[in-house]
């Protein structure tokens, strides 16, 4: 049992597992074909519905990543135990906070892969669609500013949302979605001719908050490590 623990908590295993994830992601970039539905549905649904010839690389990657997550936790515990009595607190904790950030991002991907949602399609001005909670959203107005070269410089849509709590009005545009109950309504495209049409999508990313938290932990610890390295350089120069 002790041997198994030492193996799972070893730096060597971590290095091989990272190399494995790199290898299978690289293979996946060549295996994934154009027109694949991988980005159109939550990942777990894609994994169960798509043919194994298309999904095997991701299944192997997820398995290696799970082992890497375990290895990261065990290595962090071992590192903290080994260094607890020496060095500054920041030097002890920074790499482990980076590991925590990485683990949170992996967990965020799992959440999004399981509970993500995506739907959408073209809608004319005045058209409406049903929100996932059953309420009605109407596209009241579409606006677009076209540049001299015929390219859209800017576009936006005004919506009316009949929620159980009352009517809501909002303007949404690229990079400024309309959010309601964890769902985002995104304006992807607007065409003015021959009729005013919009391409509207609804997304839910349950892992987004966790991914941001992981990213913030990771960045903060990364800055700590850079700061500590700067201190070491100053010491070396003296």
């Amino acid at each position: 049992m002790k041997r198994l623990y030492n193996f799972l908590a070893s730096l060597d295993l971590g290095i091989w597992l990272v190399a494995g994830v790199i290898l299978f992601l690289g293979i996946g970039s060549f295996v994934t074909r154009e027109g694949s539905a991988i980005n159109d549905v939550p990942l777990f649904i894609w994994l169960t519905k798509a043919p194994i010839a298309e999904t095997w690389w991701l299944l192997v990657t997820v398995a290696v990543l799970a082992l890497l997550a375990l290895n990261t936790v065990l290595c962090s515990i071992e590192s903290l135990k080994a260094k607890w009595q020496r060095g500054s607190f920041l030097a002890r904790i920074a790499p482990q906070v980076m590991h925590l950030g990485f683990l949170l991002i992996v967990l965020a991907h799992l959440l999004s892969a399981y509970g993500g949602f995506k739907d959408g399609g073209p809608l004319p001005e005045g058209g409406s669609f049903s929100f996932p909670d059953g309420s009605r959203v109407e596209i009241v107005r579409l606006d677009a500013r076209i540049g001299p070269m015929g390219m859209p410089l800017d576009f936006s849509a005004t919506l009316r949302h009949a929620t159980p709590a009352g009517e809501r009005h909002a303007v949404f545009s690229p990079n400024h979605p309309y959010f309601y109950q964890g769902f985002g309504v995104y304006l992807k495209q607007v065409e003015l001719f021959p009729a005013k049409m919009a391409l509207v999508e609804i997304h839910r990313e349950p892992g987004a908050g966790l991914a941001l938290a992981g990213a913030l932990f990771f960045t903060a610890a990364n800055l700590m490590i850079l700061w500590l390295r700067r201190g070491k350089r100053a010491e070396a120069a003296q």
Partner: protein, 239 residues
């Protein structure tokens, strides 16, 4: 205006072993970027011409602290190596037409500009790390390997920040912080590879040659992520 690029490439190629020439080359490139940016009203980051110039400028800019670092101050060869790398990408930009179109609305956000600029600062540092790794393998000077580590660590920090800003941009623009496209997969591969680099270094002095080689291979992956994926693979996420 392209004469500024030709002038900077010339200065890098033939004079970069002396710091004033290197600085003159960088000033010429920065002037070109500033003029293009003011004509476009935004950072010039769209299309191969602009991104290659931005990459070349980033190499020279990020290289500066290394050229004045202790141990390299009087080493014209490393300085020239960084200059050649910057010149190479400046010259590569010349055959490509500059795109003067306005930004598509989805790219018109600070998160996008931050994402791309930080990625190029990271790519530049990975390139400098590869040069330092090459010189370490030739000379076995331990100081060069330490500088390579600093280049990789700062580059890794820039690249991580680029991925975070890219994720935030993606969430507001596309509805997801992650898409399974070849570009994103290779971005993750690059990030994981430099995570691997930082961990291989923990193996100790016996792995020094391996670390130097990893810094060189990392830049190969960087170039594939930046240029190879856009040219060879179909991806909605390319320059």
């Amino acid at each position: 205006m392209k004469w500024l690029i030709i002038a900077s490439a010339g200065l890098y190629l033939f004079g970069a072993f002396r710091l004033p020439f290197f600085l003159a080359g960088l000033a010429a490139e920065l002037t070109y970027l500033a003029l293009r940016g003011s004509a476009l009203g935004r950072l010039p980051l769209i299309g191969p011409h602009d991104t290659l110039i931005f990459f070349s400028t980033s190499i020279a800019l990020m290289g500066l602290p290394f050229l004045v670092a202790q141990g390299l101050r009087r080493d014209g060869t490393v300085s020239w190596g960084v200059g050649v790398l910057a010149a190479l990408f400046a010259l590569l930009a010349l055959p490509f037409r500059s795109l003067n179109m306005p930004l598509p609305p989805v790219l018109n956000t600070l998160w996008f500009e931050l994402h791309v600029a930080l990625a190029f600062f990271a790519y530049a540092l990975f390139g400098i790390g590869a040069i330092l790794g090459g010189f370490y393998l030739a000379r076995r000077d331990r100081g060069l390997l330490d500088l390579q580590y600093r280049a990789a660590l700062v580059g890794y920090s820039f690249f991580s920040a680029s991925m975070v800003s890219g994720g935030i941009w993606g969430y507001y623009a596309w509805g997801t912080y992650w898409l399974w496209t070849p570009k994103e997969l290779w971005t993750s591969i690059l990030w994981l590879f430099y995570s691997l680099y930082l961990h291989i270094r923990l193996k100790g002095p016996a792995w020094e040659r391996g670390v130097a080689w990893a810094g060189i291979i990392g830049f190969g992956i960087t170039l594939f992520t930046y240029l190879g994926v856009s040219m060879l693979m179909k991806s909605s996420h390319s320059f």
